[in-house]
């Protein structure tokens, strides 16, 4: 077990290192601003005195590397500073929205993961038949559709014509669980449609790729029926790639969530980052980016670790 612990340790260390470099990039990016935040905020007409005053109040007169460590340590303590646009505490701003976003992503995952797995296995089992071709066409279409196209089609049919689900997902902390679920239904469905197609296609491919292996022929020549060949001989080897596929797509959900939240006016982190980019509220954008990046890195790390743990060569060294 020793080498495997070492490999996982390396991955975790690398993940932490990456996150640190990402924080550096996010911080340094702002330093690239032509002028700086103070001039940016006050506009061209500001007098040098007011700019200097604002620089001081923002702490911009301190050297960049000191500001970076300051910024990093407050981030680590959950203190994200205050928003430039409205002076509110960023941590307070983010907390409920992060919860909303995670809830939305989780619901989308809960719908899409099981469907994608079953669909991928079915498509692989009935490869090159009508079922497979139908699945292929449908998934090809849905990966080609922009999220907002899927969203508006769903709105048109389920909200406008059928009237069963709301087209706006206005929730706040007082919304009951049931109302919350109903409000979230359309955005979650939209995300699920988009992510599911990717996941399903990749699951199908990773199983079919394995079917070319010789041990599959061995299994068939033992007289095993096709389902048993697939479940007992292909699937255990496909687990690692499939786990990777799922985790990668969960990471992809994070990106998809931004557009979907805007369409449905869902008060999540995605909408916040879009609003803040429009207002050029850079501290908020920095904080949101860091949270998104951290989640993304964490998910990728999970997929790495999963594929290590599922590899018999590493689990049972010589």
């Amino acid at each position: 077990m020793k080498p495997i612990a070492k490999i996982i340790g390396q991955r975790v260390a690398f993940g932490a290192l990456t996150l640190w470099i990402v924080s550096l990039i996010i911080f340094a990016g702002v330093q690239l601003l032509p002028g700086d935040i103070a001039t940016e905020l006050l506009g061209q007409s500001a007098t040098p005195e007011t700019v200097a005053a604002l620089r001081k109040s923002l702490g911009l007169d301190v050297p960049a590397y000191l500001r970076y460590f300051d910024w990093l340590s407050s981030m680590l303590h959950g203190n994200f500073g205050t928003a430039l646009s409205n002076g509110r505490d960023i941590a307070e701003l983010i907390k409920p929205r992060l919860y909303n976003t995670l809830l939305l992503a989780a619901s989308a995952a809960a719908i899409s993961v099981p469907l994608a797995l079953v669909g991928g296995i079915v498509a692989a089992l009935y490869r090159n038949t009508f079922v497979d071709r139908a699945i292929n066409v449908v998934t090809l279409a849905s990966i080609s559709f922009p999220e907002f196209f899927v969203a508006y089609i769903l709105i048109l049919f389920l909200a406008v014509h059928a009237g069963i689900l709301p087209s706006l997902s206005d929730v706040d902390s007082t919304t009951s669980v049931l109302d919350r679920l109903i409000a979230m239904a359309l955005p979650a469905l939209t995300l699920a449609v988009v992510v599911m197609a990717h996941m399903l296609r990749m699951t199908r491919t990773s199983i079919i790729n394995l079917l070319g292996n010789q041990y599959i022929e061995t299994a068939r020549l033992k007289g095993l029926p096709e389902w048993r060949v697939l479940v007992r001989h292909a699937l255990p080897n496909a687990l690692a790639p499939i786990a990777t596929v799922i985790v990668l797509n969960l990471a992809y959900l994070i990106t998809g969530v931004v557009v979907v939240e805007v369409v449905f006016v869902y008060p999540g982190l995605g909408q916040l980052i879009v609003d803040s980019v429009q207002k050029r509220d850079i501290p908020v954008v920095q904080a949101c980016s860091l949270i998104f990046a951290a989640t993304y890195i964490l998910l990728n790390l999970t997929s790495d670790v999963l594929s290590i743990v599922m590899n018999p060569r590493l689990m049972h060294p010589k």
Binding site: Q214, T218, L221, K222, G223, L224, P236, N237, H316
Partner: protein, 570 residues
């Protein structure tokens, strides 16, 4: 045919049970294939798909408890026939005619379910590469007993007991526990034995062995071959034994069928096929290794000498070459022979400069050769050419033959245009290929033609030394023979020295002037051909020499017997 039963292995000890099985009166037909026709659809690049016939109306009969050897070069259809006897065809391949009678019923008519019920129960399969044929995700025992369990042939404990007994019979170490391991935890030779045990575990009537020892080193091959042969004999199972190596098949089979291009060439009792082959093609196969090559005696001027060469990977953490000292004279052939892991290919990489040595030096054409490829002059590079093992990947698939052969002319000598074309045609003539091939792409050539083009590319540089890295081991024996003859005649004409790297002692015997035997990164024996091949031997060379299958019935028994005697003597 049944009247002519001969006991080929009568001198070897046999179990009681099997001698009963093998009594002549008891023999009846197990497998009877009539007019088998197999087709496939091929998809040549840039053309429309077309159907080709892989097997042309082949018939064969196999009696209970007998072993039939199917022999032929690649494309002979031997594996296809082997799989067809299980009613199985690989992707794109179809059985389009004839019948396969197993235990008196046509299995081709038994439908999917019927086929499944006999695969893994009445008939089992042993694949060429056990390393690829075992599922990496499951423990060996689970895979060995799977077929027997699935076909409900007994309780798990009972079947496992049988498997362990088979492990013992096949000479596997730790038979009680080896089943708990994963495939990657045991060696290739062991996996091949376990695969045989897996086939025997269902107590089938017939086992199809598809080149079971081809992927193994010679010294391992002899052990596995003996284990398989004894297991077949002791259990009384019938077998189809497929191989490209006639010498190997001769040790196992009662009868031999020679196939070529999907047609039957000749069929007969093993002794007859080996000793009195009827057909021209079979005769060629039997005498394949007979190339006459006299050791040369000429002015001994060294073209290449390496001294104390040491090399490894990963900052010297893994040592692959250890203190290698060799010399090669102008216009002569030095054969470096060894099994996988002996460091012979690494030696080639070090000499060519692809892998800088960690110690020692190389003298080439009278001057020291820089360690790194980047430091060598264009002239050094020109004089030292290399031919690779697999011609398929040694030529850029997007360049024509003319371009491939013409590039060294352009690059080293600046020859362009019509003059280059003329030289390309000259070179094509030297390798006995027509000018019309100049505009072909490598994919449009046969295996032998590809290797010839690679030889022409090396010759185009007018080198002093050509390193040949296993240049014939991917080829069929007859084609390989042609390549060797070509190399020797070119060597005579051009006076180029050859450093011939190979695992095949037969090749070495036919072409070398001097020989170096390598084992685990060291040269264990080095000298002229006569010196190296005459006793007294060091233990490894002795083992190597005695492991090379000879075209002689009963060779295996003699080899194993002399080995036992020796180990008893020690």
């Amino acid at each position: 045919m049944s009247e002519k039963v001969v006991y080929l292995h009568g001198d070897a000890p046999m179990g009681e049970a099997c001698s009963k099985d093998r009594s002549p009166g008891d023999q009846d037909t197990l497998l009877n294939i009539r007019d088998l026709r197999i087709e496939a659809t091929v998809y040549p690049p840039g053309e429309n798909p077309k159907d080709i016939i892989l097997v042309h109306d082949v018939s064969l009969t196999l009696k209970r408890g007998r072993v039939l050897g199917l022999i032929g070069e690649s494309g002979a259809g031997k594996s296809t026939i082997g799989l067809a006897s299980m009613g199985y065809a690989r992707g794109g391949v179809r059985i389009t005619g004839g019948e396969v009678m197993l235990n008196d019923r046509d299995i081709l008519k038994s439908g999917k379910v019927g086929l499944r019920s006999l695969r893994g129960r009445e008939i089992c399969y042993v694949a060429q590469s056990a390393a690829a044929a075992f599922n990496p995700a499951h423990r060996l025992m689970d895979q060995v007993v799977e077929a027997a369990l699935f076909h409900a042939m007994g309780a798990r404990t009972e079947i496992e007991k049988r498997a362990i007994a088979l492990f013992k019979k096949l000479g596997l170490p730790y038979p009680e526990n080896i089943g708990k391991r994963f495939p990657h935890q045991v060696s290739g030779g062991q996996l091949q034995r376990i695969m045989t045990a897996m086939a025997l575990c269902s107590e089938p009537d017939l086992i199809v062995f598809d080149e079971p020892t081809t992927a193994l080193d010679v010294t391992t091959q002899i052990e596995v071959l003996a284990a398989i042969r004894d297991a077949i004999r002791d259990t009384g199972v019938a077998a189809l034994y497929i191989s490209h190596d006639l010498a190997v098949v001769a040790q196992v089979a009662d009868e031999i069928m020679v196939l070529r291009h999907g047609r039957l060439v000749e069929q007969g009792i093993t002794q007859q096929v080996i000793n009195q082959p009827l057909e021209q093609y079979t005769r060629a196969l039997v005498s394949v290794h007979h190339i006459d090559h006299e050791e040369r005696d000429r002015a001994k001027a060294s073209v290449l000498s390496v001294e104390g060469l040491t090399a490894g990977y990963g900052d010297g953490a893994v040592k692959v070459l250890c203190d290698v000292t060799l010399n090669l004279n102008k216009g002569e052939t030095l054969a470096v022979v060894g099994e996988s892991g002996s460091g012979k290919s690494t030696l080639a990489r070090v000499i060519t400069g692809l892998l800088p040595p960690s110690g020692g030096g190389i003298q080439f054409d009278g001057r020291p050769l820089p360690r790194l490829l980047a430091e060598r002059s264009k002239e050094d590079l020109r004089k030292l050419q290399m031919i690779f093992q697999t011609a398929d990947i040694a030529m850029n698939p997007r360049q024509t033959v003319a371009k491939i052969i013409g590039r060294p002319l352009e690059f080293y000598f600046g020859i362009r245009g019509a003059e280059r074309d003329r030289r390309v045609f000259e070179l094509l003539e030297k390798i006995e290929m027509g000018q019309d091939l100049a505009n072909r792409y490598p994919a449009e050539l046969s295996g032998g033609q590809k290797q010839r083009v690679c030889i022409a590319r090396a010759l185009a540089a007018k080198p002093k030394l050509i390193i040949c890295d296993e240049v014939t081991s991917a080829l069929d024996p007859l084609v390989a023979n042609g390549i060797l003859k070509l190399l020797l005649s070119l060597q005579n004409d051009e006076g180029v020295a050859l450093l011939f790297i190979t695992h095949d002692l037969a090749t070495v015997k036919s072409i070398a002037d001097s020989i170096a035997v390598m084992y685990r990164g060291e040269v264990v024996r080095y000298g002229t051909k006569a010196e190296v091949l005459s006793p007294p031997f060091d233990p490894y060379t002795e083992l190597l020499l005695s492991s090379v299958p000879e075209m002689e019935v009963g060779w295996l028994d003699k080899a194993i017997a002399s080995r036992r005697m020796e180990s008893a003597g020690n």
